[in-house]
Symmetry: C2
Subunit: 919 residues, 2 copies
């Protein structure tokens, strides 16, 4: 526990700074920094993340000196503002907000107007000159505090928020529609009703003592670090539980004291496109959460310059030009200061501008690439910083499909445009409508494509948003919860479709008289914000057209050119090689186009399916002896050879790692009576014979059964055939003058002898093939390290291996003793409740599986210096796993072709992190 | 490669000694030792095991200096005996035998009479004075050399040995029955026919050059180290392939030069009972292999003193009293010299006694215990040596069932005695008759109990013998192959039933006119050597009656008293604790009786089956919510509590480790339409509902699925119920004044958080139970380390654990990625071909899994000094695994109750080995 538990800021100075993120959280550190550089920040103080950790570990207690420190900082704020906390005449009010090290928008709870009670509300009425304002503030405070701190809230999904119910009752009684239509007297009644509600539900009177209120709010923030929403968010963004959150207590300023007040959020550049222009939204006479929650559709900050644009929804630029200019100046200062696009919150209280927050702005992949490359050109950042700033994941988002101009035209002509909204997340999505996040998850789990439609989204919906093709909301702006999450996850998203009327009860939505029911199909064009009726098949993105399909040139596409620039910079900085997992010439071509320097995993079993092949494979399985198997394998040989010829040609001199047959043989046999009888007929065997073989080969735990090299050990003729197909293909392609580098990989080796014997089979075939072909090819024989034992005895196995490749999928399954196929019964629970910090099948479990990788490398190289070692599980395309791969000295990662750009950027970032840490 | 490749012996001196086993093999080292201490050993020399290793690794080549060294030693033997190898007048002949470090009887190939050719046979005829003897020796040599070196042998199982076929043809032509009835001229004809056979089959003339013969035989011995029989033997006895075999080349002496010649084998004590009396068999006018192969039924060496015993089959003692006395003296000298019971081979050539071999004699478990305790009393060895000498495995053999006196009486009265033979392996066996080892294996694999019946057995039959309840042979003596193997494996065995006529073709056997067909049942009383018709159920052994059933006292049973003595000595020397795996009060009682100091694994799921319980369990599984599950669990609670009360009472103050529910829930659901519908009726639910649940819970890889602590994580109420049952039972038994030490073990933990949360559930229940009971119980909460990840992060997990217990079954499955249920398709192949040196499910894989055990201990104890760590997989009862457990500092092993004595002895031996190594 550090000495200092509370850090003050305000009045042009601060105890902390932007460098103290770990202790003050992101928000607190930036508030301190803004105060230091003279920004108009309402004064306040930050309770450190250390206190949160202490609170969690001690079961909800505080370090002894905290109370005195908090009180001292309250006095400092009081001195700065000349108001007292709890003073009945002119009360100082506070906002209390969470602020974790990593930004977690919307995930943590906030309480505003803290310090109000039956006495101070009268003082506030007096000094503000508005009784209505004072009681509106008080009822907001009661509702927020009641919900967040006292847990007075809807007790089931069917129940409405009880405070909202009271508000609705009052509005109904008064015959008005909007909250703002209620009078001061009405709101006084609301306040009484709210307090009654709290007493009834919590069994206690609402706390009138401001100090009690403050400590309650602080505790609630700390507790909220441990709530399920926060866990889900952290899991998704891989934020450690241990980090904790800070609490920011800041003097309130009011954007809702009248029409000379406003509140808003802004980005220093466009977060969707990256365009260099102040971009944001604001509301006159509102409190901050009104903008973010999307309950009112906000107005743009900047004018676009178009005629008439400001008539209905005047921009801040038009309405308050001086304040706009001041804000624009501050925004630019902050971007220059932080050398990054900033996401700002501000409030104007009676003509005075206050900055409430600044932070690095979240942006789409598209915007990230544009901003980074622009900033390099502007000289604001260097190329390393540009690469470091790209969220590696987003490199794949830019390869996501979009609708073609023709499709859109056609849909428009057919009158299928349903509605337009704000283009909050670019890209194309098409699927059936669902109205609840849980259903979205359930249907997606069944393999259905769905579009989640909500009035607005909240953190509870994040899982369902993730499971959907796209998200559509009726309310909210470009900075609403839906928009933020969608952009970050690369989901197409349209928000603020105010013409859309959603009826959850009837499970339908309506635009005018057009009704769309749950289960009907819609399509979202997130790039323009247009919603279409019916399914549409998205087409390749511009980057795909340029880089993979080559239907457009780099010059024609500024975004593809910038994308390539980021990748080329990345290649300059990275040490890790990047290969692709590809099983066909098409995939191989795509891999090369996206920058793969080889194939790290070519699965041969995919070539065993389909048409004549599967029949030959089944004949082999049914054969009663080696002779019969050889005859069937002879049929497969020329087909396999052709596969490899295509791949070697496509890879044109890049190494190709080919894995010998891996799945258990029963996977190739038919299932179900009908398929069995037709397969039997095709093969010319009796149904009973085929069924007997199916029974014989059935396994209790196929994952741990007769597969991998165990097949080649039992039936060396399979390995022989495959080695022959590979090496004959290699000789044939070499004869065309193309360089070929085949690497034959034996799967599921657990014991040195397995590799030794399979290697002998390959080497013997090789000699024969080379003699027949009259030429020799350099080839390697290596193994997958995908069993714990293989990693443990890697020094033994390395004696027989030319290379290693970690099969982290199976290695994770065996190390954890978890079958991915069966994990559905408990893994979601583990992730939701934080038992596992991340899904080990998505991101490598460094603590456990990572040790085995270290053993594999160290022990393998202890026997063969410089042994080539790669990774070819799905983790090969996961940025944090790539970082680990870099740290432990792997030679390359291999991932699906579309993730190659992700891997290139992540590999560069890993190198840059290392460089930064070594300085 | 050592400098010296060949070691000579003979003439009262030797280059080597008994201490050089590793280099000279067992046989070679003992020949050297005998020569050193002045025993009459025919001179010869030993080619070292290093040469075997070189031969194997170089693909069949020899180190350069070998040839010269061998020639030099041939000259030395020639000088000692005054004969020359290859001399046509008086040829020196050699035997060539294998000799591995560990004794491998019958597993390696032997060639006698080497040096004979068309010329030297004439010289032998002259000097021996017997043309018949010379050509008999030559034809034996041709057949042996032809088989072993030139591989002229039966080409299929149906074919007879081609040399035997020729012999049979000659005997038929001459109208005689025995080989010995053939004349010298007949045998000359046989020799010609044998040479023709060799030429025809091998394409070459039989090598006439003695030097060529010798090198051929040496190579054959080395090659035979790599044959499948040898692999099978080594696998069974866990002898490393790397050890290699030596080759012993020794001057021939002849037991078949006439009636003043003999050859025999003997034990210095009775190998079946341990009685202190020279025990053995011999044949007049025979070569050594005639005795061992059992082709003639040999005569006893010593007289029993019974009247008339020597009339038909005179003993050596009766026939050649002086030579017998000399032999008895040498035998005693050797036993004193080696301080252990010796297994001797000797030959008498024309009245002169030669010692051909001595080695520690194999003995039954019964004999081992008697000999060891006797030798301690005699002052020959100390108690540590006595314990070290016991084959730990044999402690379990002595618990094997026997037939009761009543059963035997009844069977006799019913006329069910089929035949009597030699009691070669004590114990009782009952099963259906099979005549082929392969069938024995196949039927045993299907769970059938079989008795293998053979004319005689050979090393090819070892697998089938292992699979059988007992072995019956028509020929052979107490030292025949069948007898040796059976004794070592603790199999009931009866040999030398000369009245038994076996007809493999008809698949039947006959005694007089009683015919027993394949598939008929017989029973063997290996203790008396009596064969009964029909099945009989064996009853408990004497040791079981005394120690477990207490139906006899220790004083009434000398063998049980000796057994106890060995165990008590073992307890003095061992450091490892020994616990038992027991799930019921009965098993617990048995475990305590056999010396278990606690229960290391009490599986609670076994208590979930049967009657009302399984219905309640199924109700729990079908419940749609926690409430429903709790209601069903409430039904189970009192039953589980009663189980634990019984166990705690039985264990009377010893610790009891209870594992919470482990198997996937679908294991408790019914299978098959009929069972499903009756279960549905019983539970009062629809068949469709039950089937839907069965489908929902089905898993692809149940071993890696929703089981272990993952159940308790998803349904904490199950853990709660079990914790409650355990702790309520503990309180109840403690109230009776009995000490209770419950240790609650959470299975399949892979992550610290799992244990932390399950532990919290247990601790909370404990507080409630203690409050209700008004008393506190000391209890522990720990975990099984049975996943690779758990071992790797044992330092994390240890923070939550009071103890660890290695679940080596699952740990082996996950570390190897092998499901035991599915390993049948490839594991036998791996073991037969030596890919795996031992079955990792039988004996812990020290190289791989062993590392994880080391990690688990080291890391666990790095966090909690002195953390109690045990092993509770099946390896807990395997001696070599126990030795490893001792080495790495485990606190205890836990095994099935009947293996507790094995573990106690093995644990003592581990400590003694450590003590010996540290000196």
């Amino acid at each position: 526990m550090a000495d200092k538990l509370v850090y003050g800021f305000g009045g042009g100075r601060a105890d902390g700074s932007a460098a103290m993120r770990e202790v003050l959280g992101g928000k607190g550190a930036n508030l301190a920094e803004m105060a230091r550089i003279g920004m108009p920040v309402p004064p306040g103080f930050t309770v450190t993340t250390d206190v949160c950790t202490y609170f969690g570990e001690s079961g909800g207690r505080y370090p002894a000196p905290l109370k005195a420190e908090v009180e001292q900082h309250i006095r400092q704020v009081e001195d700065l503002l000349g108001k007292q906390f709890g003073n009945a005449d002119d009360p100082l009010l506070f906002s209390v907000r969470s602020g974790a090290r990593a930004s977690m928008p919307g995930m943590m709870d906030t309480v505003l107007n803290l310090g109000l009670n039956d006495e101070t509300v009268e003082g506030l009425a007096k000094v503000s000159g508005s009784r209505r304002f004072a009681f509106d503030s008080y009822r907001r405070f009661l509702a927020m505090y009641g919900d967040v701190v006292l847990e007075v809230r809807a007790r089931s999904k069917k129940e409405h928020d009880p405070f909202e119910v009271i508000m609705d009752r009052f509005k109904k009684e008064r015959g008005v529609k909007l909250d703002t239509d209620l009078s001061a007297a009405d709101l006084e009644g609301v306040v009484v009703a709210f307090k009654d509600l709290v007493r009834e539900r919590s069994g206690d009177d609402f706390p009138q003592d401001p100090e009690v209120q403050l400590w309650g709010a602080i505790a609630a923030v700390f507790r909220s670090w441990d709530n399920p929403r926060a866990h889900e968010y952290r899991r998704m963004y891989r934020i450690p539980f241990e980090w904790g959150t800070a609490v920011n207590v800041q003097a309130m300023v009011f954007g809702n004291l009248g029409d000379d007040c406003a509140t808003g959020v802004a980005f220093t550049r466009n977060p969707a496109t990256g365009e260099k222009k102040l971009f944001g939204e604001y509301l006159i006479n509102a409190q901050g959460e009104d903008v973010v929650a999307g309950t009112r559709t906000p107005q743009p900050i900047s004018s676009s310059g178009e005629a008439g644009e400001d008539d209905e929804m005047p921009s801040l630029e038009a309405l308050m030009p001086d304040l706009y200019a001041e804000f624009a100046r501050l925004a630019e200062t902050l971007e220059s200061h932080y050398r990054d696009m900033q996401d700002l919150e501000f409030t104007i209280e009676r003509g005075k501008l206050y900055m409430l927050q600044t932070r690095a702005g979240k942006r789409t992949g598209l915007a990230a690439i544009r901003i980074a490359t622009d900033q390099v050109e502007e000289g604001l950042i260097d190329e390393k910083t540009a690469v470091a700033r790209i969220e590696a994941e987003s490199m794949e988002h830019l390869l996501a499909p979009i609708f073609s101009a023709e499709q859109l035209d056609e849909a428009k002509k057919a009158g299928r445009v349903l509605v337009r909204g704000l283009p909050a997340g670019p890209g194309a999505a098409s699927g059936t409508v669902v109205f609840h996040a849980d259903e979205a998850k359930a249907l997606a789990h069944q393999g259905k494509k769905v579009v989640l439609v909500r009035v607005e989204t909240s953190p509870e919906d994040v899982g369902g948003m993730e499971a959907s093709q796209g998200i559509l909301t009726a309310r909210g702006g470009m900075t609403s919860h839906a928009a933020l999450v969608a952009r970050q996850r690369g989901k197409p998203c349209i928000v603020g479709c105010s013409d859309l009327v959603i009826d959850y009860e009837k499970a339908q939505m309506r635009v005018g008289d057009r009704v769309v029911r749950e289960g009907d199909a819609i399509s979202l064009d997130g790039t323009t914000g247009t919603v279409y009726l019916g399914l549409m098949s998205p087409a390749p993105s511009e980057v795909v057209e340029v880089l993979i399909e080559r239907t457009k040139s780099l010059e024609q596409s500024p975004i593809a050119a910038r994308y390539e620039r980021i990748l080329r910079w990345s290649d300059r900085f990275r040490r890790l090689g990047v290969r692709a997992n590809a099983d066909s010439p098409e995939h191989s071509n795509e891999a090369v186009a996206l920058g793969a320097h080889g194939i790290g995993l070519c699965r041969t079993e995919h070539m065993f399916f389909g048409g004549r092949r599967i029949t030959a494979v089944r004949k082999m399985i049914l054969a009663s002896d080696q002779e019969g198997r050889r005859a069937a394998l002879d049929e497969i040989l020329p087909m396999q050879r052709e596969d490899f010829i295509g791949i070697f040609r496509a890879m044109n001199g890049h190494p190709v790692t080919i894995r010998t047959l891996d799945p258990p043989l029963h996977e190739f046999l038919p299932h179900g009576a009908k398929e069995v009888s037709s397969a039997a007929e095709e093969m010319g065997v009796g149904v009973a014979e085929l069924e007997a073989k199916i029974d014989l080969l059935a396994e209790t735990n196929p994952m741990l059964g007769h597969r991998g090299c165990r097949l080649g050990m039992a039936y060396p003729e399979i390995t022989e055939m495959q080695a022959r197909a590979i090496l004959e293909a290699a000789c044939a392609v070499a004869a065309e003058g193309v360089e070929v580098l085949p690497e034959i990989m034996i799967p599921l080796v657990g014991h040195r002898q397995e590799l030794a014997r399979q290697r002998r089979v390959v080497d013997e075939v090789a000699e024969k093939v080379f003699a027949e072909a009259g030429r020799r090819i350099d080839y390697l024989v290596g193994t997958m390290i995908e069993l714990p034992r293989a990693a443990l005895v890697a020094d033994q196995i390395a004696k027989e291996a030319d290379f290693f490749s970690f099969g982290t999928n199976d290695l994770t399954q065996t190390t954890f003793g978890i079958s991915r196929d069966d994990a559905g019964h408990f893994l979601p629970l583990y992730l939701e409740s934080g038992v596992f910090p991340v899904d080990p099948f998505q991101s490598l479990d460094i603590e456990g599986v990572g040790q085995l990788l270290r053993f594999g490398i160290e022990r393998g190289r202890s026997v063969k210096e410089g042994l080539k070692v790669g990774i070819c599980g799905e983790h090969g395309g996961d940025p944090s796993s790539i970082r680990f791969a870099h740290e432990i000295g792997l030679d390359y990662v291999s991932c699906s072709p579309r993730r190659v750009p992700v891997a290139r950027v992540a590999a560069a970032q890993a190198a840059l992190i290392e460089e930064a840490n070594s300085q």
